[in-house]
Every structure is written in structure tokens, then in C-alpha cells.
């Protein structure tokens, strides 16, 4: 099972954090710090896997963002790489040519999409179509734009 998934920029700014196990805030901060320093220090063209404490770390860079997750010992590293890739594909499908700014400004959407895909650190649905369909369905449930636009901004 996956323990955590972090998205951070090349400058080490955290863009998304998903914890699949309850951890005290202090431990989370420590993990974020360790992951950013370790991953950002890796040279190009090294392998995508590392050991850290008793977890396997799998990471991959997409444009300016690093996707990094912590796995248990019996988990499959290659498949974890593909989980990261599938998530990128899902974001891309939703936002259309996704970039870091999309994730900053629509962070809540990034979390919702992740929730459709993973749950409790395990994969829930692998079909891109199914996930896209359920995200679309929930978008349909939203009130019309006009309804919102009539509200004051602040």
C-alpha cells in the first residue's frame, strides 16, 4: 500500500500532499523535508527508486513538478511509476495540457481526481474512461455558472 504521495516543484515547494496513514503533523513535515531534499539532490538519469527507512521511494519528474510516493516493501516499484503516470494522464485529461499552475489554483480538483483513482493507498480504478466519467458526472452535479456568477466574489 502507498503511504503518501507528494507533489513538489523543483524549488521544493509542496503542491499536493496526500497521506494514506494518519501521521502527526511533525512526522509529515519531516517526511516532506527528507523527500524534497533527497529527490531534488538526485542527478539526472539516475534510477527512479530509493530506499528510505523501511519504505521504498518512487519518484518521477514531469516538467517542473516531481511526483514522489512512499511504498511498502512488497509493493511493485514499476507499477508505482505507472500509478504516477496515470495520475498525470488524468490531470491532463481534466485540465487539458496540465501545468503546475493548474494544480496550484485548482488544488481541490487535484485532490478530487486523486480520490477517484486511489483510496487508502490502494488503487481503486485503473480505467481512464471510468474515472473521467465519474469526474464528469460530479461536475454535472454542480450548479450552473450563472448561479455562481450572481454571487458576490468576496
Amino acid at each position: 500500500m502507498m503511504h503518501f504521495l507528494l507533489l513538489f516543484s523543483r524549488q521544493g515547494k509542496l503542491r499536493l500532499q496526500k497521506w494514506f496513514l494518519p501521521l502527526p503533523e511533525r512526522d509529515r513535515k519531516k517526511i516532506v523535508k527528507d523527500m524534497t531534499t533527497m529527490v531534488l539532490a538526485r542527478k539526472p538519469r539516475t534510477c527512479n527508486f530509493m530506499h528510505w527507512k523501511d519504505l521504498k521511494i518512487v519518484y518521477k519528474r514531469y516538467a517542473s513538478l516531481y511526483f514522489c510516493c512512499g511504498l511498502e516493501n512488497q509493493d511493485n516499484e514499476l507499477l508505482a511509476l505507472e500509478i504516477l503516470h496515470r495520475y498525470v494522464e488524468l490531470l491532463d485529461k481534466y485540465f487539458g495540457n496540465v501545468c503546475e499552475l493548474d494544480i496550484i489554483f485548482n488544488f481541490e480538483k487535484a485532490y478530487f481526481i486523486l480520490d477517484e483513482f486511489l483510496m487508502g493507498g490502494e488503487i481503486q480504478e485503473t480505467s481512464k474512461q471510468s474515472i473521467a466519467k465519474s469526474i464528469e458526472a460530479s461536475d454535472m452535479l454542480q450548479e450552473t455558472m450563472e448561479e455562481y456568477m450572481s454571487k458576490p466574489a468576496f
Binding site: 490502494e122 481503486q124 461536475d139 454571487k151
Partner: protein, 959 residues
């Protein structure tokens, strides 16, 4: 700001995020956030009821602020209110907030649970999924209590939508992991297992994670899943790449499900049913065959997915460990990957082969790849791959290739990454011992280990070599000769001195016949190292000396003289002084017979499991070696050592007690050490009793007795950054000396003439108290005679958040180069912390500024014209060349900064006198900046060459 492509826009939120991104500084960001928090707080508190949209927007802003890393202490109630909204997006944001920020506030949990209950029974699949996600995200015990009964019902109900089933399965898994006692499968078991047959691939994918976890805990109840899993796997493996539609990932059919099926099968032994087993073997063969087929796509996603299945299949083959044919094929496949151009595959192949190496069927096949693996160790550019290669070499080592592997690992150690050296050292030590046919090879290997990576050789390793030498008389002569030779090196590691001292003390007589290693030569060799060693090693050497007196009566007078000298018999260290006094007395009053009995050769040690192995097992993974853990490992032996009497190499005591002859000699030694050998109850402090009782308290602390050495008492070596910390304080007297997550050390100091007073402030940064807090200040080597440092005792207990102060008085006796060491030990939550720093006492602290006119300056400058009186350095500026900053630093140095002296106004000149008790040393300084080249030339002249040199070194680091 990008246009939101879909869905609702919360303009206020976007503006706020934009504002935060535009903040130029952390302060501006905090200011903006505080403004926003005040605004939201007033909205929430206002009389006017907020509409759902505003509530959602503010909750979302709070969430954003929290995710930026700021604390949020309100808004929970508003988020809970959102849960009962009938607008989807409001509910969704409410749930997201709860998932991310929930704390087990019981009042709120009750409200949250109510909302979840409503959504679960709403029969609206989207709402049900949101509720299930929330349960899985929070996963608290209270939620398990409320819903563990309901969720299995949802999971197996006939009319549940597929997407809800998927969520329910994983939600149940989460609850099972939190509170297994609350999730009772009983009646549901078989219906859950049959989800493996579900039409919907997504449902199977989600359900199998649950089934795997349940099978691990209750294999018997779930064993029917084996045949179902095999048939499902077989259908996937044999399907064409397009059969599974969207569950085909880059031309690979259902890779996630395939891997999970293979993982589930690893919970069980090979199927007993012949037909099922046949079908499974067929699947595994197909997977292995597919690896040889040309790829259907050039995309890395295709090969990753395909190889993920392959590696999982190989794991299953290794797990079964019963099909020699498949094992060898797996090994060959991994062999191909070892040479693959993808680093990831090389990494995984090395990792996977490690497990394969332990199977009797494939061990030989793995060994054929030895050259490739050695090559990987030498040439891989990625440290994590090299690490795996080292692991594999360790795993594939046996009697036939041990010498080659150990030699390769030793040569790799010379350049190995610091992070893995200690583990490598342990591995080499274990292999050398395990496969030693002739023990001279073993001794050579360990001594090489100490020579190459002495700092990383832990006590366990050098204890072990001593234990083995003592137990095998065929290697003793060789060992004595080899350590004697190793000690000839001008600079040898302290661990080498320890081993050398111990072995020569026991077996020096075996090489004493050769005039080149006569007793006196041996003694002089050992004693030449004495002054460079730490206290525990010196203690060990003193024991070796008394053994020499017994072995070689002709050395008696020389050694007695050494023991009698002030630096021994009046040593400031109690332990050393005590040994010197007692050994001197023992050697002068005991008869030869008594001496021979007391100082008899060490009896063999009882055979035990190597504690090195225990230590390696303790290390969870590379990179996980924290100081704590190491301390933990040492503690079992070390704690009992609290008596303080027994340190470093008390061969004699042990000899006497082990032989269990209640001779007068035992008594004699009993005087010397605190704990009595035979009578004492096994309390803390009575080390020997514990060690020799067979109770096994110390089972893994093998030599924990032999040189019942300092183990945890040893001061840690100074932190690697301690020199840097020292440099920070050359030009200033106050500041923070050191800080980690637990402890902060602040420093304030003042100096007058040759005297100084330093205040250290130890601050506990945690909320837990530090106990047995002790600090020791020591002056290594020559410094003892140059500085007189006295530290006042410090409170042994520091409450969480509290600070204690320690006063240190310093007297400068003569000029010096080294810095005193400060060692700090304390227990934090049971773990011993041990760290050493350099106290920032540098020679320039004792400067008295001297004002003088230009004429005087140059006259004195000329007087100090002997070449050794001058020290000069030309170096690149490491900070901006700002005149004011340079001036401030020079003033901080303690000299007088002389204006209008140097003809070139860009240059700086200073003068001062260093005050020591023995003498005064006048010093002149000239610093010539070259702004264009960004270089400095620094020249120092003083009446004493060592002072010029040291000042020059210190200053060159400052600009």
C-alpha cells in the same frame, strides 16, 4: 492565473491564491494570510447567516492556508455544516476539509458520523462514495466503531453500484487495518472472495487488495481464493491486448490486476490441486515467454507495465521455491536485466536476485553473474544501484567466492559513499568471519578494514576479531605479527591501536624472539601511539602494559617508570589515574606467581552468534542508520556498564574471574574495580555478573565482556560540521553554537588577559524531559598542557522547553591550535543521545589590542622578518568584499585595527598581543583585498611561528 477549464470558479479563492503567489517575502505572505484569517473569522462570527457558497469558499481558503503549512484552529464547524448541504460541490469541499484536517475532537466526530450515515443511506452513489472516502481518509477508531458493520453489507449487496462497491472494498480494508477487531467478516467471507469473479474489472481490482490483506491474516478462511485467482489470472494472461478495453494499459492487459493476483497467490503455498497448479505454471511460463517477445510499443509505460508483471511473477516463483526449472529461467531473465540500459531495471534485477540467491535451486545460477555485479559496484553512477549491487554480492557470497567478493567490497570501501560505509564494513566483517577457511586471511581482512575505513568500524567488529584470535591458537602468532606491522604506519587509526594493544598484550610473546620485535620494541611502538589516543584506548593500553610486565619481566622497570610519571599517576581522568596507581602497585608488590595468575592469558570465549550480524539485522535499510539506532544497539552491553570501573580491555579481571579461581588475585583486582566479580547481585553496575551468567541478557553483546569497554560511555566523535561551527565563532563571542531537532546550544563568552569565561545554554526544544544530562569538556592531546578548562557541573535533568546554563572557566597556559571537545550525553525518550562538538575557544580570544603609529608598525614588522615568523595565505573571497564587514570582523578578532598606517588605504592592518600564562606573543596582521580578482592576501607575523600559522588558518576561513 489560468482560466479554469471546467467546473465552478471560486473567484475569491483564485484572487487570494494569486495574492499569496505575488507576495515577495515570507513576512508579506504571513501578513496576507493573517488578514484573510481575520476576514474569514469575522464572516463566520457575523450575525448574518452565510449562504452555502460563501461558506464553501471560506472553508476552501482555510484549507489552502493549512496546506501552505499554517495552523488552522477554526472553521471545522462550518466544514461539518457543509456536509449536510444538498449541493454536491459544497458537500465535496466539506468532506475534503474534514479528510485533510480532522482531529479526533469527539464532539465533531459525532456530527461528522451523522452526516456520513445520512449520505451512506441516501442511495445516491456519488454521495455514498464521498462518505466512504471520508471514512477511509480519516480511518479513526470511532469511525470504525460506527461503520464497520454497515460497510460489508454495502460491499456485497446485489443492488450496489460498481463504483460504490469499489469504494466500499477499499474503505473496509482501511478500517480493517486500523481496527481489525471491529471488522468481522464471518458470514460475508465467501461473498467477498467471489468478488474475484465480478464482471467489472474495477471491482475486482479494488476487492483484491482487501482479499489479500484478509488472506494474510486468516489464510484458512480465504483459501478458496487461490483457484479463483489462478483462473482470473489465466484469463488475463491469455487475452489479447485489446480484449480488456480500457483496462489494457499501453498494450498490456490489466497490469494492476495481474500484479495484485500474483501478490495474492504469494500469501499461499503452491496449489495442491494438480489442475490448478498446472494452469498457474502455464501462466508463469507465458509471462516469462512474453518477456522475450518484441515490445508492442516503444513507450516506457509499456515496458514498465510488462516488466512489473514479470517481476511480480518472479517474486511468486521465488516464494514457491519449488520449481527448479522456473527458478533458473527467472534467474536468467534477471541476468539479462542486469545488463539492461534502463537503470530502473538494473536496480530491480539486483534487488530481486538478492532473494533468488538464498534459494538452493538458484544459488549457483545467481553466482554465474558475479562479474556483472562486481562491475555494477564499480561503474554504476547511481549510488542506490551500487548499494543494491553490494547487497547482492553479500547475498551470493559463499565459500567458493568469498575471497573475491570480500576483496572487491574492500576496494569499493575506499571510495564508497559515506552513507553506506558502516553497513559495508559490517558486511565485510561478517563475510570474512563466516567464510574464513584460514584465519590469517580473516585477520588480514579485518585489519584492512580498520585501515581503510577505521571510522566506520564499530566496537562489535574489533571485539569480534579479538574474540576469534583468542579462541584460535593457530592464528595468534600471525595476528601478533600482523598488528605489529600495521602499527608501524606513522598514522594508524585508533581502532588499530586498540586491536594492537590487546593482541600484543596477550600474544606479544609469540613474536618477541625476533630482535626486530623484541619486548621493548613492541612496548615503545605501542607507547608512541599512547598520547594520540582517547581515554578508553589509553586505559586499554595501560592494561596491555601490565600484561607486558608479566610476559616480559625485562620491560618491568621501563613500564613502571611510565606508570609512575605525572601524566599517568596524576592524570586528571580518574580511570586512567586509578589504573596507573593500581598497576604500579600490583607490579611492585605481587610475586611473579601471583602476577602470572592474575595476568594469565585470556581463556577462550564461549561461542555465540556474532553480534555484528545482530547489528546488521537491526539496520533496517540503508540510509536508515541514525545515531539513535546505533546507540540502541550498543546499549544492552553498555548500560550495564554503568559502574564506571570497567573500561577498555580489562583482560586481567576477566581472566581471573573466568577461571573462577577465588585466588587472592581476584581480590586484589576487586579492589580496583567497583563491582565485585562473584558476589554482586546482577544489578546495574555489576557488569561482570551479567556477562558471565548464562541468563543471556547479553546474548548478542559478544565481547560485551571481554574488553568490557566503554561501549555507550564512549564519547561520540565530533560532528563533521564541528570545524565549521568553530569557524563561526572566531570573530564573535556570542550566538547559537549548535542546533538540531532536540537541542539548542547557545553560547556567551568573555575574555580578559589569559582568562575566559564561557556560558553555555542548553535548551530542550522538545516537550519531553531530557534525563541523565551530562556534559564533559576535554582537551585532546597536547591541548591538555596548553589550556586549563574547568566546567561547572550541569543539572542532570532538563524539562521540556526549559533551558539550563553551564559555566566554563578557561585559562590559557600556552599558545594552542586545537579546540577543546564538548561531549553531551542525555536520554530522550529512552534513547541515548551522544554528540560531540568543538568548543569555540581559539587562540585569538586571548588578544589584547595594541594601538601604534605607522612608524612603529613598520619597524616591528621588519623585526619579525624571519621566514618562520611569517604565515601567508592568498585566497578567494567567499563573502562580499564589504569594507565595513571586514572591519567588524577584524575588530571581532580582538586585535586593534590601525587606521592610516598602510600606504594603500584599501589594505587593513592590525596589531595585538596574545596573553598566555607562559608568555606574551605579539602579532601583526596585514590584509590586502583585491576587489577585481575577488581575492585576498593575508599576512601574519608574530614572535612565535605556531601562532602565525594558526591565526592565518583561522582567518582565511572568515572573509
Amino acid at each position: 492565473m489560468p482560466a479554469v477549464s471546467k467546473g465552478d470558479g471560486m473567484r475569491g479563492l483564485a484572487v487570494f491564491i494569486s495574492d499569496i503567489r505575488n507576495c515577495k517575502s515570507k513576512e508579506a505572505e504571513i501578513k496576507r494570510i493573517n488578514k484573510e484569517l481575520a476576514n474569514i473569522r469575522s464572516k463566520f462570527k457575523g450575525d448574518k447567516a452565510l449562504d452555502g457558497y460563501s461558506k464553501k469558499k471560506y472553508v476552501c481558503k482555510l484549507l489552502f492556508i493549512f496546506l501552505l503549512g499554517h495552523d488552522i484552529d477554526f472553521g471545522h464547524m462550518e466544514a461539518v455544516n457543509l456536509l449536510s448541504s444538498n449541493k454536491y460541490t459544497e458537500k465535496q469541499i466539506g468532506y475534503l476539509f474534514i479528510s485533510v484536517l480532522v482531529n479526533s475532537n469527539s464532539e465533531l466526530i459525532r456530527l461528522i458520523n451523522n452526516a456520513i450515515k445520512n449520505d451512506l443511506s441516501s442511495r445516491n452513489p456519488t454521495f455514498m462514495c464521498l462518505a466512504l472516502h471520508c471514512i477511509a481518509n480519516v480511518g479513526s477508531r470511532e469511525m470504525a466503531e460506527a461503520f464497520a458493520g454497515e460497510i460489508p453489507r454495502i460491499l456485497v449487496a446485489g443492488d450496489t453500484m460498481d463504483s460504490v462497491k469499489q469504494s466500499a472494498a477499499l474503505c473496509l480494508l482501511r478500517l480493517y487495518k486500523t481496527s481489525p477487531d471491529l471488522v468481522l467478516m464471518g458470514e460475508w467471507t465467501s461473498r467477498v472472495v467471489h468478488l474475484l469473479n465480478d464482471q467489472h474489472m474495477g471491482v475486482v481490482t479494488a476487492a483484491i487488495s482487501l482479499i489479500t490483506c484478509l488472506s494474510q491474516k486468516n489464510p484458512d478462511e480465504f483459501k478458496t481464493c487461490v483457484s479463483l485467482a489462478v483462473s482470473r489470472l489465466s484469463r488475463i494472461v491469455s487475452s489479447a491486448s485489446t480484449d480488456l478495453q480500457d483496462y489494457t494499459y499501453y498494450f498490456v492487459p490489466a497490469p494492476w490486476l495481474s500484479c495484485k493476483l500474483l501478490r495474492l497467490l504469494q500469501c499461499y503455498p503452491p496449489p495442491e490441486d494438480g489442475a490448478v497448479k498446472g494452469r498457474l505454471v502455464e501462466c508463469l511460463e507465458t509471462i516469462l515467454n512474453k518477456a522475450q517477445e518484441p515490445p508492442k510499443s516503444k513507450k516506457v509505460q509499456h515496458s514498465n507495465a510488462k516488466n512489473a508483471i514479470l517481476f511480480e511473477a518472479i517474486s511468486l516463483i521465488i516464494h514457491y521455491d519449488s520449481e527448479p526449472n522456473l527458478l533458473v529461467r527467472a534467474c536468467n531473465q534477471l541476468g539479462q536485466f542486469l545488463q539492461h540500459r534502463e537503470t530502473n531495471l538494473r536496480y530491480l534485477a539486483l534487488e530481486s536476485m538478492c532473494t533468488l540467491a538464498s534459494s538452493e535451486f538458484s544459488h549457483e545460477a545467481v553466482k554465474t553473474h558475479i562479474e556483472t555485479v562486481i562491475n555494477a559496484l564499480k561503474t554504476e553512477r547511481d549510488v542506490s544501484v551500487r548499494q543494491r549491487a553490494a547487497d547482492l554480492l553479500y547475498a551470493m557470497c559463499d565459500r567458493s567466492n568469498a575471497k573475491q567478493i570480500v576483496a572487491e567490497m574492500l576496494s569499493y570501501l575506499e571510495t564508497a559513499d559515506y552513507s553506506i560505509r558502516e553497513e559495508m564494513v559490517l558486511k565485510v566483517a561478517i563475510l570474512a568471519e563466516k567464510y574464513a577457511v584460514d584465519y590469517s586471511w580473516y585477520v588480514d581482512t579485518i585489519l584492512n578494514l580498520i585501515r581503510i575505513a577505521g571510522d566506520y568500524v564499530s566496537e562489535e567488529v574489533w571485539y569480534r576479531v579479538i574474540q576469534i584470535v583468542i579462541n584460535r591458537d593457530d592464528v595468534q602468532g600471525y595476528a601478533a605479527k600482523t598488528v605489529f606491522e600495521a602499527l608501524q604506519a606513522p598514522a594508524c587509526h585508533e581502532n588499530m591501536v586498540k586491536v594492537g594493544g590487546y593482541i600484543l598484550g596477550e600474544f606479544g610473546n609469540l613474536i618477541a624472539g625476533d630482535p626486530r620485535s623484541s619486548p621493548l620494541v613492541q612496548f615503545n611502538l605501542l607507547h608512541s601511539k599512547f598520547h594520540l589516543c582517547s581515554v578508553p584506548t589509553r586505559a586499554l593500553l595501560l592494561s596491555a602494559y601490565i600484561k607486558f610486565i608479566n610476559l616480559f619481566p625485562e620491560t618491568k622497570s621501563t613500564i613502571q617508570e611510565v606508570l609512575r610519571s605525572d601524566s599517568q599517576i596524576r592524570n586528571s581522568d580518574v580511570e586512567l589515574q586509578q589504573r596507573a596507581v593500581e598497576y604500579l602497585k600490583l607490579s611492585s608488590i605481587a610475586s611473579t606467581d601471583v602476577l602470572a595468575t592474575v595476568l594469565e592469558e585470556m581463556p577462550p570465549f564461549p561461542e555465540r552468534e556474532s553480534s555484528i550480524l545482530a547489528k546488521l539485522k537491526k539496520k533496517k535499510g540503508p540510509g536508515a542508520v541514525s545515531v539513535n539506532e546505533l546507540e540502541e544497539g550498543k546499549r544492552e552491553g553498555g548500560e550495564l556498564n554503568g559502574g564506571g570501573g570497567e573500561r577498555g580491555g580489562d583482560n586481567s579481571t576477566i581472566a581471573a574471574s573466568n577461571a573462577s579461581t577465588p585466588s587472592p588475585s581476584a581480590d586484589l583486582l576487586g579492589l580496583r574495580t567497583g563491582p565485585q566479580v562473584s558476589a554482586a547481585p546482577p544489578s546495574a553496575g555489576s557488569l561482570l555478573v551479567d556477562v558471565f551468567s548464562e541468563a543471556g541478557v547479553n546474548d548478542d553483546g559478544f565481547l560485551s565482556s571481554a574488553p568490557p569497554s566503554a561501549v555507550s560511555e564512549d564519547a561520540a566523535p565530533p560532528l563533521p560540521e564541528s570545524n565549521e561551527l568553530l569557524n563561526k565563532f572566531v570573530c564573535k563571542n556570542n550566538g547559537v553554537l549548535f542546533e538540531n531537532q532536540l537541542l539548542q546550544i547557545g553560547i556567551k563568552s568573555e575574555y580578559r588577559q589569559n582568562l575566559g569565561r564561557m556560558y553555555l545554554f542548553y535548551g530542550n526544544k522538545t516537550s519531553v524531559q531530557f534525563v541523565t544530562f551530562t556534559t564533559t569538556v576535554s582537551c585532546p592531546g597536547e591541548l591538555q598542557s596548553q589550556l586549563n578548562v574547568q566546567a561547572k557541573p550541569v543539572e542532570p535533568l532538563i524539562e521540556g522547553g526549559a533551558q539550563v546554563q553551564q559555566v566554563i572557566n578557561i585559562e590559557c597556559l600556552g599558545d594552542f591550535c586545537e579546540a577543546p571537545l564538548l561531549n553531551i550525553k542525555f536520554r530522550y525518550g529512552g534513547a541515548l543521545q551522544n554528540l560531540s562538538l568543538k568548543l569555540p575557544v581559539t587562540i585569538n580570544k586571548f588578544f589584547q589590542p595594541t594601538e601604534m603609529a605607522s612608524h612603529d608598525f613598520f619597524q616591528r614588522w621588519k623585526q619579525l622578518s624571519q621566514p618562520q615568523q611569517e604565515a601567508q595565505k592568498i585566497f578567494k573571497a567567499s563573502h562580499a568584499m564589504d569594507t565595513e564587514v571586514i572591519k567588524a570582523k577584524l575588530l571581532g578578532l580582538g586585535m586593534a585595527l590601525l587606521e592610516n598606517v598602510d600606504p594603500n588605504p584599501e589594505n587593513f592592518v592590525c596589531a595585538g598581543v596574545i596573553q598566555t600564562k607562559a608568555q606574551q606573543v605579539g602579532s601583526l596582521l596585514r590584509l590586502e583585498p583585491n576587489a577585481q580578482a575577488q581575492m585576498y592576501r593575508l599576512t601574519l607575523r608574530s614572535s612565535k611561528d605556531t601562532v602565525s600559522k594558526r591565526l592565518c588558518e583561522l582567518l582565511a576561513e572568515q572573509f
